[in-house]
């Protein structure tokens, strides 16, 4: 009886300890920073692989899926139109948008070849953490790139990249909004056109 009591007490202790330890599974400065470092080394590897064209874009899309908060970025880029979209439209848009983004930014990534990324700090934000990196380009200029990280169901995810103050999320929302306007608000037409932009 006393033995059982002991065990119960111990398991109680273990239970309460794990309850205290729970927050460490949530987002911390370290987990946010290490996520960004892993994403950066994957990007570096892809740039150094010498791949080009659609093979390169496919690699970027894989990195995007692995590290980014894809649903939030997709929903945020679509803005108000996300609210009225059907589940099927949301799914098809998210797929098409991932491809569009990888192509658009993959095309520009050779500007960063030979660049060195250094993590300079991280700070807590309303949404999670902002990890600051300094990018020195071979031309000698420095670019400040900030990675916005938040917790998504227990794992850290990047939801925005801010280059010299220019947020990818805010910029793409403007871009997608303009594209949707140009198609008279027809989301299906936008989804159909995205792969060809």
């Amino acid at each position: 009886m006393s033995n059982l009591f002991q065990i119960t007490r111990r398991s109680c202790l273990v239970l309460s300890l794990s309850a205290i330890a729970m927050p460490s599974f949530a987002l911390t400065e370290n987990s946010a920073t290490s996520l960004v470092e892993r994403a950066l080394s994957d990007v570096q590897e892809t740039i150094d692989s010498g791949k080009s064209g659609s093979a390169l874009y496919r690699d970027f899309e894989r990195i995007f899926d692995r590290y980014a908060d894809v649903p939030l970025v997709a929903a945020g880029s679509l803005g108000i139109a996300w609210r009225s979209a059907s589940d099927g439209q949301k799914r098809r848009y998210t797929d098409a948008f991932g491809g569009f983004l990888s192509k658009k930014y993959g095309r520009r990534f050779d500007e960063f070849s030979g660049a060195k990324f250094v993590v300079t700090g991280a700070s807590e934000t309303k949404r999670g953490y902002a990890v600051a990196t300094d990018v020195s380009l071979p031309s000698g200029s420095d670019v400040e790139v900030e990675w916005q990280v938040r917790d998504v169901k227990g794992s850290p995810r990047i939801f925005d990249i801010v280059i010299e103050g220019i947020s990818m999320l805010v910029t793409e929302r403007g871009e997608i909004g303009a594209m949707l306007d140009a198609r008279g608000g027809d989301l299906d037409k936008l989804i159909a056109d995205l792969p060809n932009v």
Binding site: L72, T125, R127, G165, I166, L169, R173, E175, A178, A182
Partner: protein, 254 residues
């Protein structure tokens, strides 16, 4: 000089009148009531870039070697430094004004004005303009404006541009005959910049379906980011996801 001061004062008054009543509608980054006119000017600027500036910059990049290009950049900076120092004094950034004075002295004495040894000595290169001075003094950015031959701007920054070009020109003030030379060097450095950032400019102007909106977003965000670092008035850039469209997405199960 007295006339200069009264003109600058007039410019401030103008900024205050035009820039104080602009408020961005929800979901929009900046207030843009002149959008129709701005878009026309944008099409003109784009045509000007396509027909002249872009090709000239491209040719410049092919003909001019990196050493000469670096000299053009250094000379343009030397020419801009007296204006920059004045602006920093007006912004009460005295340490930065002193650093710029050191840059000017070192680059003139050691680099003859066409080299940049100051950067190697670790004196930072930190640009400014009268638009930033107005910001430090507490003036709001006002509405978005597309300036002919120049590009994206705001009411406040457009006033700043005019002051920098015509009123805060210490070199031209001391030696009016130098003006054609300084103007030529400055214009050449713009061509050089257009060439250096060709991929970026091309992607905004020619890859985007709506280049007007793309350059407006890029300009406004980048400008606010740069201004957030300066002056006693420099606040951190606001949470850009705080508007009603994005805000509630963060709490949804997507």
């Amino acid at each position: 000089m007295r006339r200069q001061i009264s003109r600058i004062f007039g410019a401030m008054l103008l900024t205050f009148t035009v820039a104080s009543c602009a408020e961005a509608p929800p979901g929009q980054l900046i207030s843009d009531p002149y959008e129709r006119g701005n878009r026309k000017v944008h099409e003109f600027n784009k045509g000007f870039d396509r027909a002249l500036v872009g090709p000239v910059a491209n040719a410049y990049g092919k003909v001019i070697g990196p050493d000469v290009d670096a000299s053009v950049q250094a000379a343009a900076e030397t020419i801009s430094l007296p204006n920059r120092i004045l602006n920093k004094v007006l912004q009460f950034r005295l340490l930065s004004a002193f650093q710029d004075t050191m840059r000017l002295t070192v680059n003139l004495a050691v680099g003859l004005g066409i080299k940049d040894p100051a950067t190697e000595f670790g004196i930072p290169n930190d640009d400014t303009d009268f638009g930033e001075t107005l910001h430090v003094w507490g003036f709001k950015e006002g509405n978005f404006i597309e300036v002919p031959f120049w590009g994206a701007s705001t009411e406040r920054d457009a006033v700043g541009l005019i002051v920098d070009l015509f009123l805060l020109d210490p070199i031209g003030e001391i030696e009016p005959k130098a003006r054609p030379i300084t103007a030529t060097v400055t214009l050449t450095s713009y061509i050089s910049n257009r060439n250096e950032f060709a991929d970026l400019v091309d992607s905004i102007l020619y890859d985007s379906e709506d280049s007007y909106s793309a350059q407006q977003l890029a300009y406004v965000q980048n400008r606010r980011f740069n201004l957030s670092k300066s002056g006693p008035n420099g606040a951190v850039v606001d949470d850009p996801y705080g508007d009603d469209l994005l805000d509630d997405l963060f709490d949804q199960d997507l």
